[in-house]
């Protein structure tokens, strides 16, 4: 809200500069966003008013805050514009049908109105506050609203049929053309001001075009009313129509403000010679509010704040805010809640008033006392932390991407129509289709990161992300939020350097990262199995399982090379590998507690074995056979060469293994090692269709 500095000076005496006033207001809770200047170079404060303080949506409200902060009186003398001549009561009648939604309605009549431009000083202030001057009648209503916070509305009296105001809910099917020229459909939830026949205004939001004040208007019916905040808020939301009036009403105003508003306006009508104010007014206020009293316990105030103020100090601070407060004999403070402070309803509210005027900055800085709480931890925090750390140690960069995706995400990785991943949580009111649902897989996010980098000539990327996917649950209100570790690799290894051979990242680099990760995080008995996935190369994709613990094997995730179609759509210059692992499953299998292994005391014997194996016998089958045949003496077996080429028959490849053999309690002899070798050779020949090179 914008308030001219000079206008404030009409209500409080001060010499402080606009900047100083801005700082004082900000530090007592009315934030000044900036100090600007209007056309004439006069200072205008731009304030942020929080929704609990509709009373501050006015010059008087801000002046009251300044007066409180400075400890000076508010110069405010309520005016009573009695009017003269014919009694308003004779000219108009008012009926409130729903006092719940419209607690109060005051009507006044101004006759012999000369519609014309308003005085320049008024126009200048309106403009400074961001309101366009229209004509003297409308400008007076806006001016008074800015000054005291009460929205007013001026009708052309002669266009109100029967000169009768009925405040009621709209009837189904009714509609109104509002001042902005829009035709708006109304319903039972919308409160309207109607004449005998039809709605003439949407209460508290906007007047109707038909009854608008025009240059020909000679008699004005002035409305100063009070409406239920939540009703106005709902209506304004429903109609997507926010006006200066609605944003004041929707926060809940003081019914007494309606009295002040109409009398300030009528005083201006008379003083500026715009018209003759008829005597008296019609005031329908069926259930007047009783004054609210509150008793404050100063001990509790001090304990909650961590300060030591006397009851007298507290009462004085409240008084400065125009909140009458008296210290009783028992030391408590009796507070009368002023009507304009509808936000004050519980003790904590008064605590804040005392604290902010005393000064938050004067409250000491202490440390929490008392016992430390029992230990609790987010269930996924440890696995997320350890997974992140391991991935970083493996040389991958961490990325963080948005969890909002759109259909692009599925298209990016070629998901078919029937893919269950397409069943996603959808946002009812998205900002854009690209961010209209929650992701069900991290792969599109990873691919998008790789693509963005590839497009920007960053060809070498090895990255991972730890994030959530959101899987709708049949019959559940909230989806299951699974923690996922995903990653992507592309480019050369090593990236760019001299003197060593460089090569493209391949499937086994990605697999090695996953193996190292699973070993480190403590998942045992994992294995890889070829599978097909619509986004992945049909011959280069694997599901990852673990046979760890009881029960059937558990699926941990998958890895693979992006299919040529996906890769081509993204314009990747090299092959791209991606993986996705379910951290929930991994957390349930991981046993990171390890027992230290002392170095062996006896030397090992190494034996190499090379063989030619048909390609349709899987490597895993061969390695399992070697391990099984070698038995307990086998400490480790590693593949150190794989070869296909002229020397190897078609459909076969040559595999060379190094076996490390060791006995726990003695040095192995050559004969013992050779026996193991023979056993292995015999086994792979028999079970793996292998031809062992001797």
């Amino acid at each position: 809200m914008r308030v001219p500095y000079s206008w404030l000076k009409e209500y409080v005496e001060f010499d402080e500069s606009p900047g100083e006033i801005a700082n004082i207001l900000t530090m007592t809770g009315t934030k000044v966003e900036s100090v600007e200047s209007d056309d004439g170079g006069e200072a205008v404060l731009d304030l942020e008013i929080t929704p609990n303080r509709p009373d501050c949506l006015s010059v008087i409200g801000i002046a009251r805050e300044i007066a409180a902060a400075l400890g000076r009186p508010l110069k405010f003398v309520p005016v009573a514009a009695e009017g003269k001549g014919a009694a308003t009561r004779e000219l108009v009648s008012v009926e409130i049908q729903d006092p719940e939604l419209a607690p109060r309605y005051i009507a006044r009549v101004i006759r012999n109105v000369k519609v014309g431009p308003s005085p320049l000083w008024m126009q200048k202030r309106l403009k400074a506050c961001g309101i366009r001057p229209i004509c003297n009648v409308v400008d007076i209503t806006n001016y008074v609203m800015l000054e005291c916070g009460q929205p007013l509305h001026a009708f052309d009296y002669d266009k109100i049929r029967g000169h009768k105001i009925i405040v009621r809910r709209a009837k189904p099917g009714e509609q109104i053309v509002t001042l902005d020229g829009e035709t708006r459909a109304l319903d039972r939830d919308i409160l309207v001001i109607a004449d005998e026949d039809t709605p003439v205004a949407i209460a508290g939001v906007m007047g109707g075009l038909d009854t608008e004040v025009t240059w020909d208007t000679s008699t004005v019916l002035l409305e100063s009313a009070n409406f239920s905040g939540s009703s106005i808020w709902r209506t304004s939301k429903r109609l997507k129509l926010r006006t200066e009036a609605s944003l004041r009403f929707d926060k809940g105003l003081d019914p007494e403000l309606a009295v002040l508003g109409q009398s300030m306006a009528c005083e201006l009508f008379s003083r500026l010679g715009v018209g003759e104010v008829a005597s008296g007014w019609v005031d329908v206020y069926p259930r007047p509010e009783a004054p609210r009293m509150f008793v404050l316990d100063p001990g509790r105030v001090n304990r909650l704040l961590g300060v030591q103020l006397t009851p007298g100090d507290m009462a004085a601070l409240l008084e400065r805010l125009q909140i009458p407060a008296k210290v009783g004999r028992d030391g408590t403070i009796a507070v009368e809640v002023p009507g304009f402070r509808r936000d004050l309803s519980i003790e904590a509210d008064f605590v804040e008033e005392i604290a902010r005027l005393y000064g938050y900055e004067r409250v000491a800085a202490t440390t929490l006392e008392g016992p430390l709480p029992e230990r609790i931890e987010a269930p996924f925090a440890p696995i997320e932390t350890s997974s992140r750390e391991i991935m970083l140690r493996l040389g991958l960069d961490e990325v963080v991407t948005s969890s909002l995706v759109g259909p692009w995400a599925f298209d990016l990785i070629n998901l078919p129509a029937e893919s269950p991943l397409k069943c996603a949580v959808k946002i009812a009111n998205p900002l854009a289709e690209d961010e209209s649902m929650l992701r069900t897989t991290l792969i599109p996010s990873i691919v998008a990161v790789l693509r963005r980098n590839s497009d920007r000539d960053v060809p070498n990327v090895r990255c991972f992300e730890i994030g959530r996917v959101y899987i709708p649950v049949e019959g559940g209100r909230q989806p299951e939020e699974r923690r996922i570790l995903a990653g992507g690799l592309m480019g050369n290894l090593p990236e760019a350097t001299w003197g060593v051979e460089r090569r493209k990242i391949d499937f086994f680099d990605a697999k090695g990262i996953i193996e190292a990760y699973l070993d480190e995080v403590g998942v045992e008995d994992y294995y890889f199995e070829r599978f097909t996935h619509p986004s992945l190369h049909p011959g280069r994709a694997a599901l990852i399982w673990s046979r760890h613990g009881e029960g059937p094997p558990r699926e941990l995730g998958f890895l693979g090379e992006l299919s040529p179609e996906v890769s081509k759509n993204c314009g990747f210059p090299s092959r791209v590998y991606v993986f996705e692992l379910d951290l929930g499953t991994i957390a349930s299998l991981a046993s990171p507690r390890k027992v230290a292994l002392e170095p062996p005391r006896f030397p090992a014997v190494a034996r190499d074995i090379a063989m030619v194996v048909p390609l349709d016998v899987s490597y895993r089958h061969v390695e399992d056979a070697i391990r099984d045949a070698a038995g307990e003496l086998l400490e480790d077996v590693t593949l150190f060469d794989e070869y296909t080429g002229p020397q190897v028959p078609e459909g076969h490849h040559s595999l060379a293994f190094r076996m490390v053999l060791r006995a726990r309690e003695k040095t192995l002899t050559d004969e013992e090692a050779n026996r193991v070798w023979e056993a292995v050779a015999e086994r792979v020949t028999r079970d793996c269709k292998a031809t062992v090179r001797r």
Partner: protein, 339 residues
Amino acid sequence: MRQQVAAIQDAMAREVKAAGTTVQLDELRRKYLGRKGMVARLFDELSRLEPDERRESGRLLNELKARCEEMISRRRAEIEREETRQALSRETIDVTMPGRRPPLGRKHPISRVFDELKEIFLRMGFEAVDGPEVELDYYNFEALNIPHNHPARDIQDTFYVTDEVLLRTHTSPVQIRTMEGRRPPIRVIVPGRAYRSDATDASHSPVFHQLEGLAVDRGVRFSDLRGTLALWAKEFFGPDTKVRFRPHYFPFTEPSAEVDVTCVMCGGHGCRLCKMTGWLEVMGAGMVHPRVLENVGYDPRELSGFAFGMGVDRLVMLKYGVSDIRLLLENDMRFLKSI
């Protein structure tokens, strides 16, 4: 004899000095000290001498032999040193050529700041908890004293899934879930992701990150909140950092405050970043609203608490001098590797 010895010694000294390789030295050794070498031949002549002279000449010859051995071995050491020197000199490399760096994984700045924050608060006895991002209206709004049809809802533009289910607009619902699940004392932080349907620009992203803090116990004071956050600011931004509390409004705290820290750029003198105020707003905070305590079955006359919530993306931006929030989720590797 004496003259012969002197002559041999001189000749050998000359030749040893001239020898440039160990092979040449071996030859010299054979020539002088070998079984048929010059010294051996002189030894042969000893037998033809008188006993007195023989003893004296024997001593001279033994001395000669020892001296020759010494000359050769000294020269050998010299030559070997020289050969090594030359060999190493041939292996000289240009040390200004680039080193080969092993791949170094880098933590995303958002994770880094989260970790840093967690560490600071962990030391003050807070523990990290989390909760769902797709949240019920009740936890995100109602239980936090933000009723339906209330202008307080306007503060936060919300993504809805259904009327009752939404993407949490802050990490505060985890306050409620935590309090529902346990009795005080409570000291938790909630690092997490939240969503608002703000239009995207350099400082707004529909997906953003927050760190929430909550402490509830008997006798928790507003001054404890001041102390906790003052300590946090010094730990996070540096020992000279000050905090400033401004009164503000949040539906779920009362009293409420917005918290500023001295500008990281100018140290409080005023610059463009802080719009010449010397202060940067970094979070909202306050005493837990009594109605929030009541909503989880706590008695506000018995218990009190404070809560705070900071925008982690903004902290990242301040810490690393990032001017556009969108860079954080874009993951340009050149950007990520620069910090």
